[in-house]
């Protein structure tokens, strides 16, 4: 399951980066999405959230809302890195990390 979610996040990230002409070299768990040294600005994060929610719905058959009360109040943002986002999606879908 982790691999499936990882693929979803990477697919979404590649799509957003391609749309915005952002260079993406060997993305992986440690790739920083947002914040200092991050690939995306706030508009990019909005687009990424929309893209990944759709991919989760299509590939996992689940409706998830990534920007919920929990994610917005977390000390460590689930949108900080690819790995953090994968962990958060697994939590939302009830899968063990």
């Amino acid at each position: 399951m982790r691999e499936t979610v990882m693929n979803i996040v990477l697919q979404g990230l590649k799509s957003i980066c391609a749309d915005s002409d952002i260079r993406l070299d060997s993305p992986g768990t440690a790739t920083v999405l947002y914040g200092p040294g991050g690939l995306l600005d706030s508009i990019g994060i909005v687009a990424l959230v929309a893209e990944i929610e759709q991919l989760v719905s299509r590939d996992l058959g689940r409706s998830v809302t990534l920007a919920d009360d929990r994610s917005m109040s977390m000390k460590h943002s689930p949108f900080a890195t690819v790995g953090a986002l994968v962990d958060y999606i697994l939590t939302l879908t009830g899968e063990k990390l």
């Binding site: 909005v46 929610e53 759709q54 719905s57 409706s63």
Partner: protein, 233 residues
Amino acid sequence: MSRVVLVTGTSRGIGCGLAQHFLDQGCKVAGCSRGGSSITHPSYTHFQLDVSDETAVLAMVRAVLETHGTIDVLLNNAGIASMNHLTLTPYASARKIFDTNFFGSFLFLRESAKAMIREKAGRIVNFTSVAMPLSLEGEAMYAASKAAVESLTRIASKELAPFGITVNAVGPCPVSTDLVAGVPEAKMQALLLRQAIHRYAGIDDVTNVVDFFVSEKSAFVTGQIVYLGGVGG
């Protein structure tokens, strides 16, 4: 290719008229209301839900996307009213008005916008009312909920502009629908006299403004509030 139009509050009144209008234009229309639908058309799909039920809204938007692949136009029409002096307004009534008029609009806007962001295009029309600019006595909660919708419209227009999505609002003056059925005729006539044009609006008056907002040519029109009947903002 025919556009996919999502209309809330299609059981009767303006929402029903809007759904019929876009079906007549060859669009695929998804509608919703708390009850069943009176619309029978091969291109119409009805969802029975409360617009302030987040889970139900997510399920409807997901179902529309699974069926049609996109949402081109959102018409956030669903609304309720309850005339009362504010000192006699139960808290539960105030909450219910905001749940439907504001939070329902917010939920559909948020979820539809996510689909539109992926397409980098979309048209959203929210529904306000002349009750807001006229500050009508007895309509404190209704007008306040519409003021919130107008603020949502203006800010959403800025936040969604980078994605090619326009967000506007139309503010009908009274239409002869169930929404005003309980209001005494004398009060309605007094209200009509406060408009520049002293008559009820027809569904065609509403669809005319909506057509302008959702036109593919209106890509440079966003964050606008248009009231009918010559009422100023």
